[in-house]
Each structure stands twice: as structure tokens, then as C-alpha cells.
């Protein structure tokens, strides 16, 4: 087993992976950009190495600096988290050349599944169902236009190198195509360092159902069931759950087998996710492989009782998969809500700045994977995900209620988040009935006006703000409070001074 792992990421996922390492007795090396010196993942790591200026291309995407950091610290393996270099085949190959274990698939499998075009051709040949109309990247706008005509509008522009909605655009008519291509390429370049995009037929009203697969270096595979990720805004998942309300036992078995087969065809090892689109008639189409630990991996952990980071590390260290498909069971229901720094009242524009106060929900069946703390700065340079709130309960209805209450208890001041929006999603009757398609948000929430606010609570807000303002302005209360503070030790310390004698 490894003694030291470098985590080539930031934010909540870096913190979560470090936790997994430490539980296995492995020490951790964090990396940070100039914008992240004070970030939680730096505080969490055993060692931390600066890898460059704030823009990701100069730091978290800087392969030379990251590999150097691994060599300098003696890290035997690199965990890439998600995003940044997590699905970059060149980086995987460079790790292999440097004799550093990349915790993820081998470079050939990565190159295959990372090339969404080639991977679909390979899967089609192997008899895996794929979406109609898939073709390669093309040299110029005219060729894309001809291709789009052939597939038939609406078409979707997608980045060849990644997911997460970056570089993705739906085009409903020919006159929108050129501008959408341009924007998609720029976003793809900025997010993944690769501007290639491709087109595919856009299927209306689908569900997004993915299967978590584990594969060892000897080619054995098992799946850990599905995650339903249909609740998306602008192609960005915001709510995920497992089990999917759309699968029956037969369909689950069939899709699970297909997912394992996809990974076997790809020569894949380590943890990965096979994404499918599922239409209303239970047809499913292979979309792509996410060759990384997914943002939404905790829901799978909560229903299977398995730690995916531990599994990844063990498999990367060359251990055999010691799981039998028949013995893996789903227990209860898990839901995740992504907490993004965004303003739902202002077109979901990103919200950066300082978190003035944070109190995350806690209690039975509640898990919070976060990268934030009271006083932290949320920089403008990176993905706006702040944290993930995950709940587990015996069944879906109880999980919904638990999530709703947990969202109510989530206190974050100073940064705007989508929490109010998520509450209304969880409360929506269609969501409660499990009618989750990727059109859910545009259909029900395009005219979302925000929560109703109660006059009584508003008055309490006024009173508390006035109370705070009064206490702060009194000259005799240097600490901002005229009462002794009951919970901090400072009031019992007596007189003291920083630097005093």
C-alpha cells in the first residue's frame, strides 16, 4: 500500500480524498495556487506545495509543477479528484512514465473513453446501444453545419475532453450554430485546455442514469448500482439520488451488465462511471464514461456502505477486486444536493467573496462534504461548487423529508447559494413522485421567483441586525458584545494581550 499520496485538486473533493487517505494510514500532499493559500484543503493536508498563480492553467492544470511536487515530496501516487487533470490522458501517461501511480484508469483506457467520439464508435462495434447521429470532430463551421443538418436539429455541442456542462450548448436552429460553436470551444479550452467539440442528436425528455463500476487491474468488474442525475440546470447536475425512481429490477440488472461490459471493452481499471440516457420507453443509450471519482459518489457510498476513495486507492495499489456482484446490495435511499456559489435570484450568476458565517446541517443520516469554512474566501477562478449535502434514509420519501429539513438548517452568510432553489426542487410534487427528467428544471422552474418570506421572521431579522449594530457601536464593548460570551474561552482567560509580557 502507498505511504503518501498527492491530491492534485482543491476544494471539497480534495478534502474528501485526503480524509479517505488518512483513514487508510496514508499521508497526504496538497497542492495550491496563489488564490488558495488559505483554503480548507491546504489546512487538511499533511504537506502542501505551491504550484503557481491563480488561473488553473498555470497551477492546477500545470503538469510539470504537479509532477515535480510529487517527486519532491516522495508521493508514490496522485489522486486527481474530478475536473482539472482527472481525465487528461497525457497527464496519466506522464505519471506512468515518471513511475508515479495515477489513481484512475490506465492511459490507454483514459485516452479511449476521454475521446467521446472514438469511445462511442468502439462501443457501437461491441454492440452497446448508443445515441443516434454521433460523428467526429470536424475542421470548420461549415462541416459542423452540414453535420447538424444530417443529424437534424436540435443538436447538442459537447466538449470532447470533459463533462460538467462546460462547453456544452443545445442548438435548436441553424442560425444559432456558429455562435454556439465558438462559445463551446472557448469554454472547453478554458476548462480542459482542449477546444475540440462534437455534435450529437439531442434527445428530449430523457433521464440521466449512470452506473458506478469498479474494475481491478486484472480486468474484473462489478457495478455498485445506478445514480439518477436528471435534475440539471444548464446541463449541470444539482440533485442526484440512488436508487433511480425509473428503474425496475430487470432494467437495473440489464443496465448494470451493460455498464460492466462497457468498462471491459474499454480495458478500464479503477473506479469509473458509465453514463446512460434513458428515454420514456426504457430504451437506454450509452453516453460516455466518466473516468474519475464523480461529484455525486457519496450517494452510492451511503446505500452500498462502501468507501469509493478507499476502493480507488486499493485498486490503484494493484489489489484484486474482492467483491462479488451478487453480494453487493442497495440499502435505503440517498439524495445529494450540490451547494453552488451562485445567485438564484440573479440568473444564477456565480457569487464569489467571503463566507461570513457557516453552520452546516448535522444529524442522523446527514453527510456534508465541504470545502468551505467561516471566514474563507471563494475565489472567482474555479468551479463554483462549495459543498455537497447528502442524506440517507430508509426510503425515498423519508430521504426527501430529511433533505428538506437539512437544507432549512444550512446556514451560510455572505455568499449566495442555490439552497432556496434546491428546497423548492425537493418540495415539488413531480419530484416527490419521482418524475425526474432532464427537462424538470426548465419546465417547472423557468419562472422561479424565490421563496416567500414571512413578515414575522423579517421583523426578527430587523431586530437582530439592530441589536448587533447597537452592540458593535458601543465604545465600551471592544469585542462587539456587552455580555460575557458564554461559549468561547476568551472571557475566562483574564486580561491578555497579543505580544504582551
Amino acid at each position: 500500500m502507498f505511504k503518501k499520496i498527492l491530491i492534485a485538486n482543491r476544494g471539497e473533493i480534495a478534502v474528501r480524498v485526503m480524509r479517505g487517505c488518512r483513514e487508510l494510514g496514508i499521508s497526504t500532499v496538497g497542492i495550491y495556487s496563489d488564490a488558495d493559500r488559505g483554503s480548507l484543503h491546504v489546512q487538511t493536508a499533511d504537506q502542501a506545495v505551491s504550484v503557481g498563480p491563480a488561473p488553473a492553467v498555470e497551477s492546477y492544470l500545470n503538469m510539470d509543477r504537479i509532477l515535480q511536487a510529487a517527486r519532491d515530496t516522495g508521493a508514490e501516487a496522485i489522486h486527481p479528484g474530478y475536473g482539472f487533470l482527472a481525465e487528461n490522458a497525457e497527464f496519466v501517461a506522464r505519471c506512468e512514465d515518471a513511475g508515479i501511480v495515477f489513481i484512475g484508469p490506465n492511459s490507454q483506457a483514459m485516452a479511449l473513453v476521454g475521446d467521446k467520439v472514438r469511445s462511442r464508435q468502439t462501443m457501437e462495434k461491441a454492440g452497446i446501444p448508443i445515441i443516434p447521429g454521433m460523428k467526429g470532430t470536424l475542421p470548420d463551421a461549415e462541416s459542423y453545419s452540414r453535420e447538424a443538418d444530417k443529424i437534424g436539429y436540435p443538436v447538442m455541442i459537447k466538449a470532447s475532453a470533459g463533462g460538467g456542462g462546460k462547453g456544452m450548448r443545445i442548438v435548436r436552429a441553424q442560425e444559432e450554430l456558429v455562435a454556439a460553436l465558438e462559445a463551446g470551444k472557448r469554454e472547453a479550452k478554458a476548462a480542459f485546455g482542449d477546444e475540440s467539440v462534437y455534435l450529437e442528436k439531442y434527445i428530449e425528455e430523457p433521464r440521466h442514469v449512470e452506473f458506478q463500476v469498479l474494475a481491478d487491474n486484472q480486468g474484473r468488474t462489478v457495478h455498485l448500482f445506478e445514480r439518477e442525475c436528471s435534475i440539471q440546470r444548464r446541463h449541470q447536475k444539482i440533485v442526484e439520488e440512488t436508487p433511480s425512481p425509473a428503474l425496475d429490477a430487470d432494467l437495473q440488472v440489464e443496465m448494470g451488465k451493460t455498464a460492466c461490459r462497457v468498462m471491459e471493452v474499454a480495458g478500464y481499471n479503477n473506479a469509473g462511471t458509465v453514463e446512460f440516457l434513458l428515454d420514456g420507453r426504457k430504451n437506454f443509450y450509452f453516453l460516455e464514461v466518466n473516468a474519475r471519482l464523480q461529484v455525486e459518489h457519496p450517494v452510492t457510498e451511503l446505500v452500498t456502505g462502501m468507501d469509493l476513495v478507499h476502493q480507488q486507492i486499493r485498486l490503484a495499489a494493484g489489489e484484486d477486486l474482492r467483491l462479488e456482484q451478487g453480494t453487493i446490495v442497495q440499502k435505503g435511499h440517498a439524495i445529494e444536493c450540490r451547494i453552488y456559489a451562485e445567485d438564484p435570484h440573479n440568473n444564477f450568476l456565480p457569487s464569489s467573496g467571503r463566507v461570513l458565517f457557516l453552520k452546516e446541517p448535522a444529524g442522523p443520516g446527514i453527510r456534508h462534504d465541504g470545502g468551505i469554512f467561516t471566514g474563507c474566501e471563494v475565489p472567482i477562478f474555479y468551479d463554483p461548487i462549495l459543498a455537497k449535502l447528502i442524506v440517507w434514509a430508509e426510503d425515498r420519501e423519508r430521504a426527501c423529508r430529511r433533505m428538506r429539513k437539512a437544507l432549512d438548517d444550512y446556514v451560510i452568510l455572505g455568499i449566495k447559494t442555490g439552497i432556496d432553489f434546491l428546497k423548492d426542487v425537493i418540495d415539488h410534487p413531480s419530484f416527490r413522485r419521482g418524475e425526474t427528467t432532464t427537462n424538470f428544471i426548465p419546465r417547472f422552474f423557468s419562472a422561479w421567483a424565490g421563496p416567500e418570506q414571512s413578515e414575522e421572521i423579517r421583523d426578527l431579522a430587523l431586530l437582530t441586525a439592530a441589536y448587533q449594530s447597537t452592540r458593535r457601536s458601543r465604545p465600551d464593548s471592544a469585542a462587539g458584545s456587552s455580555r460575557p460570551d458564554p461559549v468561547t474561552p476568551w472571557s475566562s482567560l483574564g486580561k491578555w494581550r497579543i505580544g504582551g509580557k
Binding site: K166, A183, R186, E187, A190, A191, A341, D343, N346, N347, L349, P350, S351, S352, G353, R354, L356, F357, K359, T374, I380, F381, Y382, D383, P384, L407, D408, D409, V411, I412, L413, G414, D420, P451, Q453, S454, I457, R458, D459, L460, A461, L462, L463, T464, A465, A466, Y467, Q468, S469, T470, R471, R472, A479, G480, S481, R483, D485, P486, V487, T488
Partner: protein, 169 residues
Amino acid sequence: MDHEFVIDGARFTLAWEAEDDELLVVSIGDKILRANVCEISPSVYSVLVGDRAFAVFCACDRGIYHVFCNGQHFELAEPDDDSDGFLTGEGRTAADDLLIKAPMPGKVIKINVTEGEEVHRNQTLAIVEAMKMENEIKSALDGVVRKIHASPGELVDNFTPLIELARKE
């Protein structure tokens, strides 16, 4: 002692009526509110109204009080800081339509227009990127580009002027 706050463009005046160790009495408009307020830590308050208990979280930053209670958020602005109508949420004004500002901190990716160019309503004027997502800045009216204040690659803050428009004669 009076306090004034602006919430979503509406002005509220709160007057201190009485205060002792047990009870704080304030009036908000013609309402009287009696509450027992206990500061737990600098941002956390336990407020009792009769026997009903509320946890209220409050933090102030640059003249804005961010308050959370029972799942609801409020932003209370001190009215003196209200210089351009933005902070108090008084909505868009005619001046806002003419002076296009960055809607959030980010990086200018592209300026799609040139000075003197005629633009129409909903035309994309500029693209600003933050947190890896591109946001198109659109014109709210038909007009002419009077002046361009920002250039591609520039890092901009909230409300940094990007483009100035003139109304079409």
C-alpha cells in the same frame, strides 16, 4: 435610538422602546416586538418571543447585514450606503440600461461591439467569465455604443463599467 434598514428596496424604521436584562422592546412601524435576545457568539443569537425560540444568524459586511432565520435569508442594507440604487435592490433604472456593468466579479472574455456601433435589444455586448462559466451580457435597449470601458482579458469586479450606450435618437 432609531435604526433604518432597506430590504429589497423597502425602507424599515426600527425604534428602541425599552431594554433591560430580560426584554428588549422595539417598534417596527406601528408594531411592537418584545424579545429576549441572547448573543451566543458574534454571529449567532438566540431570540425568545414569549416562549417561542428562534436561532438567528447575523453577520455584517460593508454595510449589509446578512441575516438567516428559520430557513429564510434577508439582506438588510444601511440606507446611507445607497449610492447607486444597486445595493438596495431598487431594481433596474434607466441609467443602468445605458451603463452596462459587470454583473459579478470575473474576467472579460470578449467585447462583441465597437464604439459607434448600433446595437439592438438583447444583442450580446460582451462575454464575462467567472468560475469557468461564460455569461453573455446583453443590451436592454436599442441604442448606440458610446464608449467601451473594458478590454478582453481584464479582471473586473462587481459593477465595474463595461460599456456605455446612448439612446437611439
